[in-house]
């Protein structure tokens, strides 16, 4: 056995817990998870059946954690996991899964398949089977301040621009504030609009806020690659920054996996509760709305639909909040089929969008979303994840549907603030 294989198997072994064992014990091979998965649905290839993507993890569980399997292993019978197996499963685990969570919602015995994919990636990456783009992004983010390298100067520039367009003073690294905003590198790269929008909303709501130059990047490639060490390191930068500035609440920006990373995985990655709260920006806006601090004037008259980011809604629990906000500013809001908890993935999540090898497969998988968009024929799609946002733009363009605009819900709310 090679050293990397052994490292991978050890990492995988660490992931096997009672839920995993109960899931594999319960699976009745009914195949219902297949039809929930965009990759199977759009290709018809049974290789993409969600539970099949976990075959190696199932094999390890069966060989090492079950009575019969252990007996077989003692007799030298159980089928071992080899390097070739890992190579074969690499594309299944990374290229054909956006960790969208639909399979988890339909499995009749209740298996959280998505959570197991997340776990299996720990073993894959430890054995050197992570996609090179994700490995590269992890290295760049570990060495710099974002997966795009060091974005601190770019951030400061954007803050300055946002200050200028809004006429609101924005102070970075300001201690004792109510909110500390994180951003995704996409939002920093694409312009100053998100920062400007938050500045306007915070001013209107009467809350103090800041951005930390020591922990502003929200994306966390560690959870996509499946590398706990990388993920924990990136989370702790934000935690340290928030503690240093003594903020009450950290705002996770419009980014799905970032929310998953900082809100749900983060405390477990660092092994303790946070001394502050974490909220997704849309939760914050909805709270302001409920408190009467967010009032708007006028509505967008276009035909608008909403795209639910998987990690924010299905896997993040934010479903009604964006709809309440949409209804404040959209005159003509129409939902696609399956909208809400069972919404279909944009096709780019879970690291798939960054993984070039997966490009063609991703384009195929987008078709279900495409048909649903076509069916409601919107002028624009509103969303609350910067990565869904850019994926939708790219896929719409590739399908010659780029007359449909993609909008950020936060920016839209800021646009209609009354004064």
């Amino acid at each position: 056995m090679t050293a990397t294989l052994e490292r991978g198997l050890n990492a995988l072994r660490e992931q096997i817990d009672a839920p995993v064992a109960s899931f594999f014990t319960s699976c009745v091979s009914c195949g219902i998870c297949a039809e929930a998965c965009l990759f199977y649905k759009e290709t018809g290839d049974p290789e993409y059946t969600p539970i099949h993507k976990l075959e190696l993890m199932r094999r390890m569980w069966s060989n090492e954690y079950t009575l019969l399997g252990r007996a077989k292993s003692l007799l030298g019978l159980g089928k071992k996991i080899t390097d070739d197996d890992l190579t074969r499963w690499e594309t299944l685990v990374y290229d054909s899964c956006t960790m969208c969570g639909r399979c988890t919602m339909v499995c009749p015995v209740g298996n959280d398949i998505t959570m197991m994919i997340r776990k299996m990636r720990e073993g894959m990456s430890a054995s050197g089977h992570g996609p090179k783009e994700l490995v590269g992004a992890a290295e760049r983010h570990t060495d710099g301040t974002s997966p795009m390298g060091d974005l601190t100067q770019a951030l400061l520039k954007r803050v300055e621009q946002a200050s200028k367009v809004t006429g609101i003073e924005i102070e970075v690294d300001k201690p004792n504030v109510d909110y500390m905003l994180m951003l995704s590198s996409h939002e920093i790269a694409s312009g100053e609009e998100m920062i400007a929008s938050v500045a306007k909303i915070m001013k209107k709501a009467g809350h103090s806020w800041t951005i930390s130059t020591e922990g502003f990047e929200a994306t966390n490639v560690g959870i996509q690659l499946g590398n706990r060490d990388v993920a924990a390191n990136l989370v702790s930068r934000i935690v340290d920054a928030a503690i240093k500035l003594k903020v009450k609440t950290v705002i996770s920006p419009e980014c799905g996996h970032a929310f998953q990373a900082i809100r749900w995985e983060g405390p477990n990655l660092i092994g303790k509760e946070y001394p502050f709260e974490v909220k997704h920006i849309i939760e914050v806006l909805d709270q302001f709305r409920a408190e009467g601090k967010l009032t708007t004037n006028g509505k967008n008259g276009d035909r608008l639909t909403f795209h639910d980011p998987c990690q924010v809604n299905r896997r993040g629990g934010i479903n009604k909040e964006p709809r309440r906000l949409m209804n404040m500013v959209a005159e003509n809001f129409i939902e696609t089929e399956d909208a809400g908890t069972m919404n279909w993935c944009c096709s780019g999540g879970g690291g798939v969008g960054a993984n070039q090898r997966a490009n063609d497969l991703q384009a195929k998988a987008f078709n279900i979303k495409k048909r649903q968009i076509e069916a409601v024929a919107p002028d624009a799609i509103v969303t609350m994840c910067a990565f869904c946002h850019s994926t939708l733009e790219d896929q719409l363009e590739a399908n010659e549907m780029d007359d449909i605009e993609v909008l950020s819900l936060t920016e839209m709310m800021a646009e209609y603030l009354d004064d």
């Binding site: 096997i16 817990d17 009672a18 839920p19 995993v20 064992a21 109960s22 899931f23 014990t25 319960s26 699976c27 009745v28 091979s29 009914c30 195949g31 219902i32 297949a34 039809e35 929930a36 199977y40 018809g44 049974p46 290789e47 059946t49 539970i51 099949h52 954690y65 079950t66 009575l67 019969l68 988890t104 919602m105 339909v106 499995c107 009749p108 015995v109 209740g110 298996n111 959280d112 959570m115 809100r263 749900w264 995985e265 983060g266 405390p267 477990n268 303790k272 509760e273 946070y274 709260e277 809604n313 299905r314 896997r315 993040g316 629990g317 934010i318 479903n319 399956d338 908890t341 069972m342």
Partner: protein
């Protein structure tokens, strides 16, 4: 074998055979459940938005109903699955002789169903099992997932239904002794294989659904 020997076989199946099967089944299930539970689960440090425990318990039941729109994606699996499970349990739990056996074991009893209801349930369950087997042959996804153990489980679950029908209706002659013995032995085969096969899902589904519901529930997400 003479009738007398059939009778001996039947008596063995009813007494010693049954005791062995029951011991293996109950002991095996306990071991398998313990083997899962001892693996444990790390404490979750993320501040809960919803209520993990309540939703976990709720999901044990709610997952019995297919999510809206999913039934049409795999109708044979869904409908066949329901009919098989319902038919099997109707025959298992509401046949007079079974109720008497259960009363002997645990002291509880309830009214039985009449023969026509039981036999309809058995017939439907057998047809449903045939339909499920058919999709395992013909549908690419099911074919990919189905291994020898899935076939084994399907066969040992159907055998008691078929042999029970034959025995009760004396299909092969007036003396049902041999077939009654075979029926009981087939049920014992089911019991003995239970802890070592996917039949375990009949116990662990509750754990799996609970975990799923509690993970999602903590986040305030649906499950």
């Amino acid at each position: 074998m003479t009738n007398n020997q059939y009778f001996d076989l039947l008596m063995w199946a009813r007494t010693t055979g049954f005791d062995i099967a029951l011991t293996i089944m109950v002991g095996g299930i306990l071991l398998r459940v313990i083997e899962i539970v001892v693996l444990g689960r790390k404490k979750d440090f993320a501040k809960a938005k919803g209520s993990p425990v309540t939703q976990g318990i709720k999901t044990i039941f709610s997952r019995s109903v297919p999510r809206k729109g999913t039934m049409k994606e795999a109708p044979v699996t869904y409908i066949g699955g329901y009919i098989f499970h319902i038919g099997f349990f109707v025959a298992f739990l509401f046949l007079g002789a079974h109720i008497a056996l259960i009363k002997d074991l645990i002291g509880l009893s309830w009214p039985d169903f009449n023969k026509a209801v039981i036999e309809t349930a058995v017939a439907l369950a057998i047809v449903a099992a045939a339909a499920l087997a058919y999709t395992r042959f013909t549908d690419p996804v099911r074919r990919r997932l189905t291994g020898w153990s899935d076939w084994f489980v399907l066969i040992v679950s159907v055998l008691p239904l078929i042999t029970g029908y034959i025995a009760v209706n004396k299909v092969f002659g007036v003396d049902g002794t041999l077939w009654m013995a075979i029926h009981i032995l087939s049920a014992e085969l089911l019991m003995v294989s239970f802890p070592f096969t996917k039949l375990m899902h009949a116990v662990t589904f509750a754990m799996a659904r609970y975990y799923n519901g509690s993970i999602q529930g903590r986040k305030g997400a649906e499950s």
